[in-house]
């Protein structure tokens, strides 16, 4: 029998987590680890490992191929271009201190698509070979140009499946905007930093009541399914956990993407501490997640979830979920999604456009209407995997994790940092540690939330243990 490679991670207690290259995992105690390391496995050990495909008979081609298939399933396959982030204007009617894109004033000129840019965007849409499309309108504040949004949406009629997302601060809701929002294929994404006091302090500065009135109007008009709201949290003074949760729960919003300030745009100067997250943020995050667990257990009619934890949980249990572009492996640039900025510039990610605008590094791939697969595209794509990184090769979480070149460039100005020294790596080691602590937690409340977050009806244990 051949033992297939297993990687290992110490748990908070004495146990050890073992993970193979396909992401299949189990826990064992130190004695089991010692037997495995020394090759002195007992019969029960061998049976356990063989039953789960960790021990394979060399003559058993089917088992060997099954393992190879499972490993391949863990490797992301970016499809054809079918996801566009469009920035029809960089102008905005707010001035948030942690604006990631360094937006310009509402009255500024020269920061909207020209007629030529719009024509080139529509031509790009015409060239898409996929039969489904997702288009996200970012800004600035995209609703300042409903005419451009409408032109793009009308051009997408030929796709059999369409999804549009407008990312808006909800300061203004004109009849024209509401008419756009009425479309069943259009979703609304906004920011909600917590209770009115917190939100107003961070963003609207005196116009808070208008935002909440508009948000509540949309919720009553469409329901919570059409609207996603995301908080941005200043880790140096995070809001009280229950107050933040209540701001969402009281409106029927159940998904909360707990994001610390992104080290981009204006935030680089005004919130320079946001480059690295410390133990205080991690502790806040864990308390937040555990509070959600308590609330889900107390009221089982509602499932509150922290969106990024659910994404990471999905990466453990559902191989093939590769459309969250901040966590996938490989993470190709400018292949299945693309950003078109207000001036027609093309970027591989929204963060890449922010970095370029901040003057940190020029990650522009080209201009809409031209070929974007040039030198920058090639350089980014030659470093888009964690497969051969020496640190990742020694990390049990590599099958679930990803690669984010733009994040490394943003924080450190380079992509060749030792992986374990990066915030991306530290954050994900910590997050996956938390996930496996939850998976092996026998508390019924924890197991209830995990199953709801994974959309599972079964009651089977999520994690196994070696004899």
């Amino acid at each position: 029998m051949t033992a297939l490679p297993l990687r290992c991670r110490p748990a908070a207690d004495d146990g050890l987590l073992f993970v193979n290259d396909s992401g299949s995992f189990f826990r064992g105690d130190p004695e089991f680890a010692s037997r495995l390391l020394s090759g002195r496995l007992e019969q029960a050990d061998e049976a356990f490992l063989a039953d789960r495909g960790h021990l394979v008979d060399e003559a058993d081609a089917l088992s060997f191929d099954a393992h190879t298939f499972n490993v391949a399933e863990r490797i992301g396959r970016a499809g054809t271009l079918d996801y566009l982030i469009l920035v029809p204007t960089l102008r905005c009617n707010l001035a948030c201190t942690y604006c990631q894109v360094s937006r310009v004033a509402e009255q500024a000129r020269g920061f909207d698509w020209s007629d030529a840019h719009l024509a080139a965007v529509l031509e790009l849409i015409d060239t898409l070979s996929a039969d489904q499309v997702k288009i996200e309108f970012q800004g600035g504040e995209p609703t300042l140009r409903p005419d451009l949004i409408r032109a793009v949406i009308e051009r997408c009629e030929r796709f059999s499946a369409r999804q549009f997302v407008i990312c808006t601060n909800l300061q203004e809701l004109s009849p024209e905007i509401l008419q756009l929002f009425d479309r069943s294929d259009l979703f609304i994404s906004t920011s909600l930093d917590g209770d009115p006091g917190t939100h107003e302090r961070n963003r609207t500065k005196g116009r808070g009541s208008k935002f909440f009135a508009n948000l509540d109007l949309l919720l009553s008009r469409y329901g919570a399914e059409k609207i996603s709201a995301l908080p941005t949290v200043d880790p140096s003074s995070p809001p009280e956990i229950d107050a933040l949760i209540d701001a969402f729960r009281s409106r029927g919003l159940t998904k909360i993407f707990l994001r610390p300030i992104n080290f981009q745009g204006f935030a680089r100067k005004r919130h320079s501490h946001s480059r690295e997250q410390d133990g205080a943020w991690r502790s806040y995050y864990e308390r937040f997640v555990r509070r959600l667990v308590e609330l889900n257990w107390a009221n089982q009619d509602t499932v509150l979830e922290e969106s990024y934890l659910s994404i990471c949980l999905g990466r453990v249990f559902r191989p093939g979920r590769d459309r969250h572009v901040d966590l996938r492996n490989p993470n190709p640039a400018g292949v299945d999604y693309l950003v078109v900025d207000y001036d027609g510039s093309l970027y591989p990610t929204d963060e890449a456009r922010m970095l370029t605008r901040s003057g940190v590094i020029d990650l522009k791939l080209g201009t809409v209407g031209s070929d974007w697969k040039g030198e920058t595209w090639r350089m980014l794509n030659s470093h888009s995997t964690n497969q051969f990184d020496p640190a990742c090769s020694r990390c049990a979480y590599q099958p679930y994790c990803g690669r984010d070149l733009v994040d490394d460039l943003s924080r450190y100005g380079r992509v060749d940092m030792a992986r374990t020294s990066t915030e991306f790596c530290r954050k994900h080691q910590w997050l996956f540690d938390l996930i496996f602590e939850l998976v092996y937690d026998k508390d019924a409340a924890v197991q209830h939330s995990l199953r709801r977050w994974l959309r599972l009806d079964c009651e089977a244990a999520l994690g196994e243990a070696a004899p």
């Binding site: 297939l4 490679p5 297993l6 990687r7 290992c8 991670r9 110490p10 748990a11 908070a12 207690d13 004495d14 146990g15 050890l16 073992f18 290259d21 130190p30 680890a33 010692s34 495995l36 390391l37 020394s38 190879t68 490993v71 020496p390 640190a391 090769s393 020694r394 990390c395 049990a396 030792a418 374990t420 020294s421 080691q429």
Partner: protein, 82 residues
């Protein structure tokens, strides 16, 4: 409080010990791992101190796995005819 742990490793693990000590320090910056003849002295005054044995066992495991993985990839490529 600083926690110390000396772990003697098996002769067959000696070839992985240097790599394991190096990566211990990379993954757990608060952990010191100093190799001696046939053992490693681990120290930490951080919360990791309570799981030094697991950290060392994992490091040895992962060092071995990284090398096995490289060999396994060659097998897969060979199987795929590349």
């Amino acid at each position: 409080m600083k926690i110390r742990l000396r772990v003697r490793f098996a002769p067959e693990d000696a070839k992985h010990a240097a790599g394991a000590a190096h990566w211990c320090r990379q993954f757990y910056p608060s952990v010191s791992a100093v190799l001696e003849q046939d053992s490693v002295l681990l120290e930490s005054d951080a919360p990791e101190g309570h799981r030094l044995a697991g950290i060392w066992a994992s490091a040895l495991f992962n060092e071995r796995a990284a090398l096995e993985q490289a060999a396994f990839r060659l097998q897969v490529l060979d199987r795929l005819g590349q």
